[in-house]
Symmetry: C2
Subunit: 227 residues, 2 copies
DNA sequence: TAAAAAAGTTAGGCATGACTAACAAGTTTT
DNA sequence: AAAACTTGTTAGTCATGCCTAACTTTTTTA
């Protein structure tokens, strides 16, 4: 199955910028992104981001007016979704077949997502029997680029007494994921919010016979579904 | 299993040059390689090769005197063998699990061999139950870098009447491999040499109820084991 | 609304890894 | 041994993608 995106032949960096634009748009629920915001996200200087954006505008993958905010064209977005699909399929493969833990998959998937072979991705998808979600609970876009947005309710939105299920995490860093696991939480964990501490808005939660207090910052990075 | 080669952090290009040096040494059964020979192998200019060799000498992976031929240091060779291991494990994975044909695997493995994760390679090896050979019949070096050389008898060495088994191919190009398959040959095929044509030394062979005449150049690229 | 701050752009550099053109050293040929 | 050829090296250029410093434009705040 040949993929039309292979006519583009973008560099690894160009791909990373497109994907970053897409992720920022999804994560912060906006349609336009500032140049410096993009630079910060990718940990490069504003000048570097500005330079790359010029190239992507030349390839009609990004649009913006001078001194204006950045938008992905529909083609730019399609390529970004395709990269997300590859990233999440690889993470799933590493997790389910290569004995990687959920905090180890992201780093290697960052490399694997740039491998150019539509056939490999299609076959990987088939091999794993078309998984719906990656190890962090994120939806894997299908071969046509269709995808659902991951849920937007975080643990920090709940009030004392409410119950929920952990459906995804909003941070792929090793530090965060290791901490989540150490506490004893995982995808599908059922959590009850005991109390939101007034002083610093940290959250007292209980789950499987255990009680823990987690920070506001932590709770902001846990996506849940109300029960 | 952490791999010591990850302390090197070579670029993709540096890796390709080391691997090329190693392949030339194995294929042409020499210990030293000329700069221009290396350049030709990699399809770059002699100036480019010369430039890269300077860097590899700085990293003590290559040795040579000025205007002299190039040698891999033992460290350079170890890294090259590690790259060959990765390449052949990926080819095997693509062939056995991803429904790639033997002429499709090489191109994608050229990309995958540069993925940095010793754990992924160890797990891939375990997942496939420690395969000994890749889809072209080449030996896969083990995790310690031990490997056997592929057999050096080609079909073109045989005389009329002799019989052999196809054990490997010495060319990974799509054009060659497709032709091999089209004729009806594959790894393990039993071949009888009917006659070596005196005029142009092409070879009349028979196998599984079929008779074909193949060129000298073709016969040079088929490795066999005498029966 | 004028000053200050933030956001975006441009200019000039640097490293990597290609290239061509010119040159130097080594190897054959005559 | 000199000429011719082959091989290796150097110099200068280019594209990519990063940087800092300086500048311009837009937005915020006083
Ligand atoms: Mn990830
Ligand atoms: Mn990436
Ligand atoms: Mn190969
Ligand atoms: Mn390679």
């Amino acid at each position: 199955m040949t993929n039309k995106f292979y006519s583009y032949d973008l560099t690894k960096s160009e791909e990373d910028y497109l994907k970053a634009l897409f992720q920022i748009i999804i994560e912060s629920e906006v349609t336009k992104v500032g140049n410096n915001q993009l630079a910060e996200y990718l940990k490069v200087s504003p000048a570097s981001a500005n330079n790359m954006i010029k190239k992507l505008k030349g390839k009609k993958l990004v649009i913006s007016e001078k001194y204006g905010k950045l938008e992905l064209t529909s083609e730019g977005k399609e390529i970004a979704v395709w990269l997300v699909r590859k990233h999440r399929l690889w993470e799933t493969f590493l997790y389910k077949y290569m004995n990687f833990s959920w905090d180890e998959v992201h780093e290697v998937a960052e490399q694997l997502e740039h491998i150019r072979s539509a056939k490999l991705i299609d076959e990987l998808d088939r091999f794993m029997d078309y998984p719906q979600k990656d190890p962090h609970g994120d939806i894997i876009p299908d071969e046509k680029g269709n995808y659902e947005l991951t849920p937007k309710i975080t643990l920090s939105h709940l009030k004392g007494g409410e119950r929920c299920r952990l459906v995804a995490v909003n941070d792929s860093s090793v530090a965060f994921l290791k901490y989540v696991s150490e506490i004893g939480l995982a995808l599908s964990s059922e959590i009850k919010v005991e109390e939101v501490v007034e002083f610093d808005r940290s959250v007292r939660i209980s789950f499987s016979d255990r009680t823990e207090t987690v920070s506001r910052k932590f709770a902001d990075n846990i996506f849940v579904e109300l029960l």
